[in-house]
Symmetry: C2
Subunit: 310 residues, 2 copies
């Protein structure tokens, strides 16, 4: 069908400080894209306006492109707890002004087209499954390590969504029962022990400096600083607890890690893999792959664009 | 089809000290059953012989029953880590003599019929989904609290199996990173902190007595013993950590608890639900049901019998 009458899709990735929209072909080629800053301080209406304008810009340009075909649909990835059943962001540290606002329906009405709203980490996992490190693998779990930790589960080639579309909130799994407090109300969430923010916080606790970036702590570790090395080992152990749990739960063949902190793979991966091995009989018995994602910042954009097709 | 030509299935539940086989109709009526002791000390051949004899007994009796119909298949639930892809028990505390033995294929050959081998807790979850507390709910997770903790996940009305059929090993999820050592190689598995065995161990640690049964600790707690109450509260907290994780991961509408320790529900459930609520934003946002299973010891037998039909 796609071969007979070409079609494209538009994906939008709403990030912490910027947004990007892209038109993508059915076979995964990016045909066009626009980028913009998200002016959160300007409030909800300004964010919605910028989302609509970005999508309309791409759509108009594709409409004028010979052979681009028909718009299959619009997918949008946003950070936070998403209730897909209602099309609402239930909770988001970065987008508080959009909480409990019918964003999916408002966008759909303004664009005159169906819109699929999805958690950004779910979209990223789907993107990797489609044309990234998970190509050809129907079942996988991905953890995206950034300022927080996002999770996405792909089951049978589709995002595992659950009853209200809130499945895959893996960043809020407890790894340290009395650990660091989290905005979700829990203590010891993996995102408070294995994210860029967690690396910064541990560096401060260990007296390495205030507000060091994860990259600066990485450079210290490369230079031989023992405290900095300990921080990445601790991050690896926390990730190992979550990976062991996920492997015991799903027995999937592939677990992907993504996000900016991946650059420090060599520092945290040994502890992570050791901890996973020690904690999961199923890991030792089935030897699943634990690997880096491949699409970088583009995963969420491709995944959002793929939503109308799955 | 079933309505036109009646058929029945045979389920076998291989337990820690006994086995049971039953013939079950397509609409969930138990037509016949036999029970036996499993003479583990007699070794592997004796266990296999007893399994075969039990199934043959039921099959012969059904063959002589007018209207019982045709045998649809044979399902077998066994404790331990099961590799369904190979039909082998990879690891089992209770059935060490059966480890790494091609039990599925040997049984199938001796019975002259296809055999489906499944983890007993997975089978129990399926049984509850079919005709128990999960009737009409396609997606659920069940924890069976006995001497260990078994887990079963039903997704879209079928057992979530993963790549080798080892999914759902929820009893070995870490709830206390440096907690009690477990035979699986991990520390702090939920089954070491929230099972009948864990209750007995905690009673010993707190000086209540050696080898008290979970029921004896329960009676002490009912009588007002503060240490005994603390034990059940601690068990509830460990279960809450796992339930919060499962709810964040799956966003399913129903989570069931089963097993002998359920009798102490009133003692551990308050701490369990409080911990779940505190640790899971998704729980607070979606309010899934957390309930007791209904089929008791029969769940695994019904679930095993249901295997050939799903």
């Amino acid at each position: 069908m796609a071969a007979d009458s070409p079609e494209y899709s538009i994906g939008l990735d709403l990030g912490g400080t910027n947004l990007r929209a892209a038109a993508v072909s059915r076979d995964g080629r990016m045909l066009d894209h626009v980028a913009g800053k998200t002016a959160y301080s300007a409030g909800r209406d300004a964010i919605v306006r910028e989302m609509v304008e970005s999508i309309v810009t791409v759509r108009d340009r594709l409409a004028a492109t010979p052979g681009a075909g028909k718009l299959a649909g619009i997918g949008i990835g946003v950070p936070g707890f998403i209730n897909m059943a209602t099309g609402v962001i239930a909770n988001s540290n970065n987008l508080a002004s959009l909480e409990n606002f019918p964003i999916r329906d408002v966008l759909s009405q303004q664009l005159g087209a169906p819109v699929i709203l999805e958690n950004d980490a779910n979209a990223a996992a789907l993107g990797e499954q489609w044309i990234g490190a998970g190509r050809g693998v129907a079942d996988l779990v991905m953890l995206t390590l950034g300022t927080g930790v996002g999770g996405g589960i792909v089951a049978g080639g589709r995002i595992l969504r659950g009853a209200q579309g809130m499945a895959g909130e893996l960043g809020h799994i407890t790894v340290v029962p009395n650990g660091n407090p989290c905005g979700c109300g829990n203590r010891g969430c993996v995102e408070k022990h294995a994210s860029a923010t967690a690396v910064t916080a541990m560096a401060k606790l260990l007296g390495l400096g205030d507000n060091l970036s994860a990259k600066e702590v990485y450079d210290l570790a490369l230079g031989g600083n023992e405290k900095a090395k300990t921080i990445y080992a601790s991050m690896g152990e926390s990730l190992g607890i979550v990976l062991a749990m996920l492997i015991n739960t799903f027995n999937y063949p592939l677990y992907l890690l993504a996000g900016g902190v991946l650059g420090a793979w060599d520092l945290f991966a040994p502890a992570m893999l050791e901890e996973t091995r020690r904690r999961s009989f199923t890991y030792r018995a089935t030897n699943p792959r634990i690997e880096k994602a491949q699409l970088g910042n583009e995963a969420g954009l491709y995944g959002a664009a793929y939503l109308p097709w799955v």
